[in-house]
C-alpha cells in the first residue's frame, strides 16, 4: 500500500527547535522511496511530513514554510509630518545567507488586532526593517510580519500595536541649519543696511563680467548679434534665476550699442521671464523701440534638441559673442566647442562644478561658482545688492572657521561639532 501524503499551506510550523523541513527531509526521502517499494511501504508512515500533491505525483520534495520573524517593533518616524511608521523585526531563523528558505517578508496592517489584515509592503529576504509610508496621520494601526518562502507562508508570531503616526512642529535635526541660516540672513541684512547708509563695500574685479561689455562691443563692431544662453534648466533652479538677472544687464548693453541679441530658452517659464528681462533692459537703456519681440525664442526643454538648435544659431547667424550663464550639463562642451569653432568671443558662468573644466577650456572667460551669483550686483553696482555680497563673504569666513575647528576636533577624536552639524 502506498503511503498517503498530503500538504497544506495553512499547517502551523513549530516555533522552536530545528526547522521541520530540514529535520524531516531525510525521513521524507525514505517515505518516498518506501512508497515505491511494496515491502517497505507496509506500515511505514511519516505523519509530520508535508509534501504537495503535485510534488508527490512527481516525487519532488517541497520544503516546509520558513519559521516566522520575531520581535516586531513599530515606531513613529520622527521629524516628519506624520506620514510614516518605522517597522523593525528580527529575521526568521531560516533566513541565513546562502539559504533560499525565505524569499521575502510580508508586512500586514489592520485597524484592530483581529483584522481585517491587508498587505502594505514587502521586504526582501535578509531585511530587518521597512518604513510604511502609506499611513494616515493620527490613525491607530496594528502590524504583523510574516515570512514567505517556497514552502509557503508562516503565520505571524505576534501582533504589534496600536501605533499612530504623528507630526512634529520642529525638525530636531535641523537646528544647526536654522542657526546658520539666521546668522547668514543677519549678515546679509546688516551689510545691506550698511550699504544703504553709504558704506558701500569694495567688490574685487571679476574679469569674466568685465569681458561681457568687451564681447558686446566686439559684436557691435562686427555688426553681428550677441547670443545669450541662460542655462538649460527651469526656473526652480537658482542658476537660471541668476542667468536671467544677468540677462537684464546684458540687454541694457546691447540696447545701448544697438546690437541685436538672441536668447534661446529651454523652458516656458524662463522664456516668459527672459522676454521681460530683455524688454526691461531696452526700457532702462532708454530704447524701448529697439526691442525685437523675436529676440527671445522658446526652443525645447529636451536637452539635445536645444543643443542642436543653439548650435544651428551659432553656425547660421554667426553671433560674434556667446554668453552662457546658468546651469549646464553634457551640452556645455558641445555648445562651447561649436562656439569656439565659429571664432566668437565666449563668456561662460556656471555653478555646476563638473562642467566648469569644459567652459574653462573652450571659453575666453569663465565665472566660477559664486561669481555667477555675484554678477548682477557687480554689473548693477546697486548698494543693496553689493551689501548682500559682503554678507555672503562673512558667512564664508564663518564656515571656514567651523571647518578648521571641526578638523582639529576630529583629529582629537572629539565629535561634538560633527554631531551638532549633522542633519536629516
Amino acid at each position: 500500500m502506498a503511503v498517503q501524503v498530503s500538504w497544506t499551506k495553512e499547517v502551523p510550523v513549530p516555533q522552536t527547535g530545528p526547522r521541520l523541513g530540514v529535520r524531516l527531509a531525510p525521513f521524507a526521502m525514505l517515505v518516498v522511496l518506501a512508497s515505491a517499494h511494496p515491502v517497505l511501504a507496509q506500515g511505514t508512515a511519516a505523519p509530520d511530513t508535508v509534501l504537495a500533491d503535485s510534488a508527490a505525483a512527481t516525487g519532488d520534495l517541497v520544503p516546509a514554510p520558513p519559521r516566522p520573524p520575531s520581535g516586531l517593533t513599530v515606531k513613529d518616524v520622527t521629524n516628519d509630518a506624520g506620514r510614516a511608521l518605522d517597522l523593525t523585526w528580527k529575521r526568521s531563523p531560516d533566513d541565513e545567507p546562502g539559504q533560499t528558505l525565505v524569499t521575502q517578508y510580508r508586512l500586514e496592517r489592520a485597524p484592530t488586532p483581529g483584522g481585517p489584515w491587508s498587505v502594505v509592503d514587502s521586504a526582501s529576504a535578509g531585511s530587518e526593517g521597512r518604513a510604511d509610508q502609506s499611513v494616515e496621520r493620527n490613525t491607530e494601526y496594528f502590524y504583523r510580519v510574516t515570512a514567505v518562502g517556497p514552502g509557503g507562508v508562516t503565520p505571524a508570531l505576534s501582533v504589534t500595536g496600536p501605533v499612530r503616526a504623528t507630526s512634529q512642529w520642529i525638525n530636531q535635526t535641523r537646528w544647526s541649519v536654522l542657526i546658520l541660516t539666521v546668522l547668514f540672513f543677519g549678515f546679509v541684512l546688516f551689510f545691506i543696511s550698511q550699504a544703504q547708509s553709504g558704506k558701500v563695500p569694495f567688490v574685487r574685479r571679476i574679469p569674466g563680467i568685465d569681458a561681457i561689455e568687451e564681447a558686446i562691443g566686439r559684436a557691435t563692431e562686427m555688426g553681428r548679434p550677441v547670443l545669450y544662453v541662460p542655462g538649460i534648466l527651469d526656473i526652480d533652479e537658482i542658476q537660471t534665476v541668476a542667468g536671467l538677472v544677468i540677462l537684464e544687464s546684458v540687454a541694457r548693453l546691447t540696447a545701448k550699442y544697438e546690437t541685436p541679441i538672441v536668447v534661446p530658452v529651454t523652458y516656458p517659464i524662463p522664456f516668459t521671464i527672459a522676454e521681460e528681462m530683455v524688454k526691461s533692459g531696452y526700457l532702462h537703456a532708454g530704447r524701448p523701440e529697439g526691442y525685437d519681440p523675436n529676440s527671445v525664442r522658446f526652443v525645447s526643454p529636451e536637452q539635445f534638441a536645444y543643443t542642436a538648435a543653439v548650435g544651428g544659431i551659432m553656425l547660421r547667424d554667426r553671433p560674434a559673442a556667446h554668453i552662457f550663464m546658468g546651469a549646464f550639463y553634457a551640452e556645455s562642451l558641445l555648445l562651447a566647442e561649436t562656439g569656439f569653432e565659429t571664432g566668437a568671443i565666449q563668456v561662460a558662468g556656471t555653478a555646476n562644478v563638473h562642467q566648469l573644466p569644459f567652459f574653462v577650456v573652450a571659453c575666453d572667460y569663465t565665472l566660477i561658482g559664486e561669481e555667477l551669483y555675484a554678477a548682477s550686483a557687480y554689473l548693477s553696482k546697486e548698494p543693496k545688492l553689493v551689501g548682500a555680497l559682503k554678507g555672503a563673504d562673512f558667512m564664508k569666513i564663518t564656515i571656514l572657521f567651523l571647518v578648521l575647528i571641526g578638523c582639529i576636533l576630529e583629529t582629537a577624536h572629539i565629535h561634538v561639532l560633527t554631531n551638532l552639524l549633522q542633519t536629516q
Binding site: 546679509v188 562651447a336 555653478a351
Partner: protein, 216 residues
C-alpha cells in the same frame, strides 16, 4: 501696486517655503506641497505661450522664405504633427505601441543619442587645447591629467608596480582625486551654495527685482 503686489507674494511664499524646511507639521508641509505641485499648472500654461512663440517665429521664416526656411518648415510640420498625434491618442500616449511612443523611440531618441555621441570628439579637441603646456599652471594641469589618466587604466598599474605603493600611479591618482580635487570642488560648492542662498534672499526680500520688468 503693479510691482509691490508680486513682491509681496514672492516674499510671503518664499519665507513660507523656508519655514517648511524646518517645520514638518502638516499645517506647514501640506500647503508647502500644494504650492510646489501648483507650479505644474503654471508650467502647463507656459507651454502654450512657448509653443505659440516657436510656431510664430518659424512659420514667419517659412512665409518670408528667409535663409534656411526649409529647416523651419520641417520643424513646423514636426511640431504640429507631434502635438496632433499626442492629442489624438489622449492619456497614455507614450504607452508601448502608440504612435507618439514610436516617434519618441524611433526619431527623437536616435537623434538625441547622435548629438550626445559627438561629445567624445569635442572632448578630444578640447583636451588637446587644454594640455598644451604654455604656462606653469598648464604644465601642472597636464601632469596631473597624465597621472589620473594612466592611474585609472591597467597599464599605469603595470608600469609602476615595481615602485613602493605610495608612489604607484593608481595611488597617486587616487590622492589627486580625493585630496586636491575634492578640496577645490568643495570650496566652489560652498561658495556656490552661499550664492544660491544670497540670491534667494535677495529675490524673497525684493532687493533683486529686475525679473519683474517694467518701470521702477
Amino acid at each position: 501696486m503693479k510691482r509691490e503686489f508680486p513682491l509681496m507674494i514672492t516674499a510671503a511664499v518664499g519665507l513660507f517655503m523656508i519655514l517648511s524646511f524646518f517645520v514638518p507639521h502638516q499645517l506647514v508641509s501640506v500647503p508647502a506641497d500644494f504650492l510646489q505641485q501648483s507650479a505644474i499648472v503654471v508650467v502647463a500654461f507656459g507651454y502654450v505661450l512657448g509653443g505659440a512663440n516657436a510656431l510664430k517665429l518659424n512659420a514667419e521664416t517659412v512665409y518670408k522664405r528667409n535663409p534656411g526656411w526649409i529647416y523651419k518648415l520641417i520643424l513646423v510640420v514636426a511640431l504640429v504633427s507631434t502635438v496632433e498625434i499626442g492629442v489624438a491618442e489622449g492619456p497614455g500616449f507614450l504607452d508601448d505601441g502608440k504612435r507618439s511612443r514610436w516617434i519618441y523611440d524611433q526619431l527623437y531618441s536616435p537623434m538625441a543619442a547622435t548629438m550626445f555621441s559627438m561629445l567624445a570628439f569635442y572632448i578630444a579637441s578640447a583636451a588637446f587645447r587644454a594640455f598644451r603646456i604654455r604656462t606653469v599652471e598648464a604644465g601642472l594641469l597636464a601632469i596631473a591629467a597624465l597621472i589620473v589618466m594612466l592611474g585609472r587604466v591597467p597599464i599605469g598599474d603595470l608600469a609602476t608596480s615595481w615602485l613602493p605603493t605610495s608612489l604607484q600611479l593608481p595611488t597617486l591618482q587616487e590622492w589627486i582625486m580625493e585630496v586636491p580635487q575634492n578640496a577645490a570642488k568643495r570650496a566652489i560648492l560652498i561658495g556656490a551654495a552661499l550664492g544660491v542662498m544670497a540670491t534667494g534672499l535677495r529675490v524673497i526680500l525684493g532687493i533683486e527685482r529686475s525679473y519683474l520688468s517694467g518701470e521702477d
